[in-house]
């Protein structure tokens, strides 16, 4: 009787691990919900750095659409691509694509895929240089 106990408990644990947690918590919905406000907040900071009139983050109306690079599964850590639609400070609708690397703990680094948002650094009108916050940025979201 006692000899049977260990294998049986192992089977229960293995079954629980595969049934409840077969799908990764890194989903497009979680990434989109995180990158939308993060990008909007960063645009807001960048606008203030560029000495433009202050705007609220919600005015940029960011909507994200993310998909996983690896075909065959729609969830999991690794390479993702997000397309962000947003309204620029001069009220033009823009589309920008970002390459994301998402780690298993729910943190990501987003890098602009094209040059539409400028290079890694921006030169201000007074000659000083600042980091282009929209060129590459990072964020984290809850995976629990």
């Amino acid at each position: 009787m006692r000899r049977n106990r260990l294998p049986r408990s192992l089977i229960v644990i293995a079954a629980a691990a595969t049934s409840c947690c077969g799908s990764s918590p890194i989903t497009s919905a979680r990434i989109e919900q995180s990158i939308e406000p993060t990008f909007a907040n960063l645009v807001r900071v960048q606008v203030s750095w560029l000495k433009m009139p202050p705007m609220d983050a919600s005015e940029f109306q960011v909507t994200a659409s993310c998909r996983r690079q690896l075909s065959g599964s729609d969830a999991g850590a690794g390479d993702w691509v997000c397309t962000l639609r947003w309204q620029s400070p001069d009220f033009q609708t823009l589309r920008d694509t970002f390459d994301l690397f998402v780690t298993t703990d729910g943190c990501y680094t987003a890098t602009a895929a094209g040059e539409s948002l400028g290079g890694p650094r921006l030169r201000l009108s007074d000659g000083t240089e600042v980091r282009n916050l929209l060129y590459a940025f990072e964020g984290c979201f809850d995976t629990t």
Binding site: P37, T104, C140, T144
Partner: protein, 272 residues
């Protein structure tokens, strides 16, 4: 077992530690390391882009302690946790001093409690020193500019400092948990090499698992995942799910390891 007895053991253990070169070297490294890092960041043009807050490290001094925190989770915390925890019991085996220790007026439980308190206390001392030093290095060498959070929000200096301190506080419990693992291995193997080395190897393996996209429930049950729970405190609004889970996991490691270690030491036959 009396509190006075434990305090006496802790006193003896700390005077032994104070005389050890490794304890002094570890303390000095925790003080100097962050300053060297911040000075290097100030001097060179590139930044550690692959670490969270690495990009901001030249813009805000508050990014420095967070980069150090992210980096320390990889192997510094495991080293600090096992440095004394993995040696505090097995050193008696190495020097053959168990019989001397146990024939003094302190009971076996008091010796156990005193040594565990010493190991936990020393780990926490090193983590606190590293935290203070990296905040000081950031603020003194880079400055106290506002910090951009993990949600792109600009945090004012007092707010940023609070978040940094809270983030460092979250690693206290996982460090205690790892120290307890080292204590258990130190008792079980009677070898300081195993006591210090095995927790280090175990935590490196656990972190390797985090790179593999395996079942999430296993990742969350690993104590090293708790070292990253602070990310939620730097988001807007903050989220606490990983922190709650990580603290529970660390508490379980701590309790189970201390319990098994205690039973193992109680049942050990020193007479032979």
């Amino acid at each position: 077992m009396s509190v006075r007895g434990c305090v006496a053991v802790v006193g003896v253990e700390y005077s032994k530690l104070a005389a050890q070169l490794k304890a002094r070297v570890a303390l000095a490294a925790c003080v100097v390391g962050p300053f060297a890092f911040a000075a290097a960041m100030k001097a060179q043009s590139s930044v550690p882009e692959d670490t969270l807050f690495g990009r901001s490290v030249k813009e805000s001094g508050f990014a420095v302690p967070l980069v150090v925190l992210g980096f320390a989770a990889l192997w510094v915390f495991p080293v600090l946790a096992s440095l004394v925890g993995g040696d505090v019991f097995s050193a008696e085996d190495r020097y053959g001093t168990w019989k001397t220790v146990l024939t003094r007026s302190r009971s076996r439980s008091e010796v156990f409690a005193g040594k565990v308190v010493t190991a936990l206390g020393f780990s926490l001392l090193l983590v606190s020193v590293l935290a203070l030093s990296s905040v000081a290095a950031g603020v003194l060498l880079i400055g106290s500019q506002p910090l951009i959070s993990l949600s792109g929000v600009l945090l004012a200096p007092p707010h940023a400092l609070t978040r940094v301190v809270l983030a460092w506080t979250t690693v206290v419990l996982p460090t205690c948990g790892l120290t307890a693992v080292a204590v258990l291995l130190s008792i079980a193997t009677r070898s300081s090499v195993a006591g210090v080395g095995l927790p280090l190897i175990a935590s490196l393996l656990m972190q390797l698992y985090a790179f593999v996209d395996g079942p999430e429930v296993i990742r969350q049950a690993l104590i090293t995942s708790a070292f990253g729970a602070w990310h939620g405190l730097l988001a807007e609004p903050p989220y606490y799910g990983p922190l709650v889970r990580g603290s529970m996991v660390s508490g379980v490691y701590l309790a189970i390891c201390v319990l098994i270690a205690y039973r193992s030491l109680r049942q050990r036959d020193f007479a032979g």
